[in-house]
Symmetry: C2
Subunit: 299 residues, 2 copies
Amino acid sequence: MSLNNWESSREEKVSEIEEILKSYLPKQEGFQKVILEAMEYSLMAGGKRLRPMLMLETYRMFGGKSDIIRPFAAAQEMIHTYSLVHDDLPAMDNDEFRRGRRTTHVVYGEDMGILAGDALLNYAFETAATAFEMEPESAPVIGKAIAILAGKAGVYGMIGGQVVDVSSSGRQIEREKLDFIYALKTGALIESSMMIGAVLAGASKDEIRTIERIASKVGLAFQIQDDILDVTSTTDELGKPVHSDEKNEKTTYVTLRGLEQAKQDVEVISEEALTLLEGLPVANPFLTRLLRELIHRKK
Amino acid sequence: MSLNNWESSREEKVSEIEEILKSYLPKQEGFQKVILEAMEYSLMAGGKRLRPMLMLETYRMFGGKSDIIRPFAAAQEMIHTYSLVHDDLPAMDNDEFRRGRRTTHVVYGEDMGILAGDALLNYAFETAATAFEMEPESAPVIGKAIAILAGKAGVYGMIGGQVVDVSSSGRQIEREKLDFIYALKTGALIESSMMIGAVLAGASKDEIRTIERIASKVGLAFQIQDDILDVTSTTDELGKPVHSDEKNEKTTYVTLRGLEQAKQDVEVISEEALTLLEGLPVANPFLTRLLRELIHRKK
């Protein structure tokens, strides 16, 4: 696939996800209209849509053909978005810009920022649960997917990582703790994305376990690349403030390992993920390429 | 049942729920220990445990006998608790005391207050989803219960009510909006509690609809009683600051309807709920008594 073809094919995939997200957004009416607006404002602010994309493509790789993947793809992006909305709050990272736009609490007020995050998290489960009505006969596998969605987003997943990240801010931490933060804060949602794709498509237990390992490596590589871009990119290119790690005195792969070693880490870990992916009895060229592109991403 | 018997029987039910909650609390270990502590601090702070109690007793009324009700009872109380934790935040009601103890963000910091609320909401769904593994053959009905749990807690339920409540603070509102706030902010979780009990016990669609109507009236009566206690009780009795509505310039049933009319409203609405309850083909004397006591509660 040429670079141009690849980029237009990736844009198509993003449009597909935007369309899915829109179809699950609540109608903006009623006394509580302001929160429905705030949810849309934060959810439709663009972004790479990496998590739903990984979910959809893993689902397709294992031969999934049903629409029940759609509410889960939307739910995953809602969870990712809520975590950003709450991360940006004054009591957390206190960020005023995200993806080139004012953050949710800046536009709607801090109280609505808290409630919009809560609403998105809750609505993720509300959305995922619509799959039960779509395909009642798949209830057991939908149940498994919901358990993964919740588990990887919670205290043993993303939130656990955020907690350690927040409480480590402004102090040096060791490699073990940094890996814990990265595995949970970033890795966990990548894992659930790919695992849910596999589970809903009927992959075997062994295949799901391999997918989890792949995703874990992808998540780590992705986060280290984030550290790298924070020091090598510009605010314009990235659509968010650079050097924020330095400002927040955060330990990152770049501060712990140095820029060149961090770059090499990304390459090594990504290659490990791709090798595992190639070992599977199924394949999806788009997914393979997507994981490969993560190494070279500029934003 | 004599008053003494009733009170000891209600205490037993509370102990049963405390035991269920404890059994679902995450172990306090790992780098993220602080959030697990904050979750326990807020969840185990006492309280009436009204929602899980209503769920368990409705489940029993419809002949439910399985343990799958346990994770749902815990999940419901986690959702109720997260909403209190976030409600108490400085950007929301800014309350420093709750149930006679310092609020979660006062003890653990504002960032951890936000994250502990998120963690409890997420863990609620994680907990409820354990029911799929407990009883795989009940997956369809468990799926329905999860949809109700999420739906009633979200933007068309509790959060919707909180949003309108927060944005109405400090200004006079009309009866229609007040009823909307009460139906959603307080009513919705009472509804899901009783509905989930009915659904998991295999009640019919008509019965579930009647239960929803009963719960809606119970929720409204409960909230009006809250308004009444805020002006008639003392901080010692209530375990939280009184006159908080006046402080926050909130429109309540007492300010809109006057104290005596509000008291009468509680009686009328509660009697309507009890009449509907008595019309069901099943009965649970404890549940009937519990709903009756709500009228006369002092805290």
